[in-house]
Amino acid sequence: MTIAGARIETGLRLGGRHVDLDGISMAWQRDVFRFVSQRTRIVSGAVRSIVWLVVLGLGLRRSFVPIHGLSYEQFLFPGIIAMAVIFSAIQSAISIIWDREFGFLREVLVAPVPRSSIVIGKALGGATTTSSQALIVLCLAPIAGVSLGFVQIVEVVPLIFLTSLAFVSLGIVIAARMHDFEGFGSIQNFVIMPLYLLSGAMFPLARTSSQLRGVVDTDPLSYGVDAIRQTLTGYRVHALWADLLVLLGVTVILMTVAVSLFNREG
């Protein structure tokens, strides 16, 4: 019999810190496995994207003055991808509340793995499933009249992944603070919808007031939208490196907060 407690250090060291690969891998696998088995979630996500794209496209295409040579559907399409990202990212992170309610979280919290590894694994798992959702939406490009080259697809995937990671991290922070389902519905109203509407996903910022633009600039999703949009259509608000910097910064900050919140959880 191995002496219990003797084998704690597995994984690798990164910058002097112990990174536990088993913990990361377990949380990632579980998320991906559950995603694959939830067909309704995948289908409903795709249907939501189609409905928004088609209805908004049909409704607004004639009132929309082309910008940068783009029709409304072409302009909107990257925004629909961003919508898939934010809905799916928050939804996947929020599953932590279910884990807490149904007990599984406790099994994880009492295990001898650093909680940071669980949080990182969960974030990577959520970002993986969210990106998969968004890639399904990417297949709708022909409907929106957006033609995609191979290079664009290769470029947009990591951008989608990074945006997903940022918003899964946000979701994990929310889930860490939410200990029951009372506030569950308000996430939709007070987190997802404002972040989405203010991201510039649905309207060109160049034609809005400077006050509104100021608000949009505080919405991290607007940088994800901008990064995805400039890769797919060439129309941009910020330089790509600026978008990347903001998304990375937001992810790092939120992940740090999430880890410290879970470290305090008993």
């Binding site: 219990a4 407690g5 088993d22 377990m26 579980r30 496995f33 007990g103 406790r106 009492v110 793995v113």
Partner: protein, 233 residues
């Protein structure tokens, strides 16, 4: 086997939480398997197994996958994982249900699976916090046969809290806790003898008084109570 008895709200679960490093003691120290719960939480965690009062399985995963994930977060060597999962499932008589999702299991089966899971990393102490609550007498008896078998088989120490006094009669030592303090600790026979009672149950009532206790508080309330320092050990 060590049994921990106490009326509702006496501090049994709070104590277990502190011993499992889920809750930091406000003061005092405790050692589990020679490791300090405050200073060496990772070592303590790796050396114990826990079956909580509430179920903590992932309902949407198969029995096997629940166990496989446990092996990962308890750092069971990769090559041994498959064998240990198999062995654990056989030990609790669930080998033929390995590919079924836990959702389809009865309460007793879930409990057995949790016991199997808690033993995967070969802990030296297995904490069982009211493991038979809500189970019918048949299932309870069956679970206990398994637990006693395990004890002989693996030599693991059982640390049990329970309301069913009969379950504590097979223990080597029994501690009675009330209002966050241990009021007596002895062998079952010693406790009976000391109080002049006729059974362990009579001895328990003798030690903790006859008045009724408030219903079990929610785990959150208990946690809050512990933070205020109401329960100490």
């Amino acid at each position: 086997m060590f049994a921990f008895l106490g009326p509702n709200g006496a501090g049994k679960t709070t104590t277990i939480k502190m011993l499992c490093t889920l809750l930091r003691p406000d003061r005092g120290t405790a050692q589990v398997n020679g490791f300090d719960v405050a200073a060496q939480p990772a070592e303590v965690r790796a050396s114990i197994g826990i079956v909580f009062q509430e179920y903590t399985l992932d309902d949407y995963l198969t029995a096997e996958r629940n166990l496989a994930y446990h092996c990962m977060i308890y750092h069971v060597p990769r090559r041994e994982r498959r064998g240990r999962v198999q062995e654990a499932l056989e030990l609790v008589g669930l080998a033929d249900r390995r590919n079924d999702v836990v959702r389809s299991f009865s309460g007793g089966m879930k409990r057995r699976l949790e016991v199997a899971r808690a033993l995967l990393h070969r802990p030296r102490v297995l904490f069982l916090d009211e493991p038979t609550v809500g189970l019918d007498p048949q299932t309870r008896r069956y679970l206990w046969e398994h637990l006693h078998g395990l004890r002989q088989h693996t030599g693991v120490t059982l640390f049990l809290t329970t309301h069913y006094i009969a379950e504590a009669e097979g223990a080597d030592r029994v501690a009675v806790i009330d209002h966050g303090r241990i009021v007596a600790e002895d062998t079952p026979a010693g406790l009976i003898g000391r109080t002049g009672a006729e059974s362990l149950e009579d001895a328990f009532v003798e030690l903790t008084g006859g008045e009724l206790r408030p219903e079990e508080a929610s785990s959150r309330e208990r946690l809050a109570g512990a933070r205020r320092g109401r329960s100490r050990l």
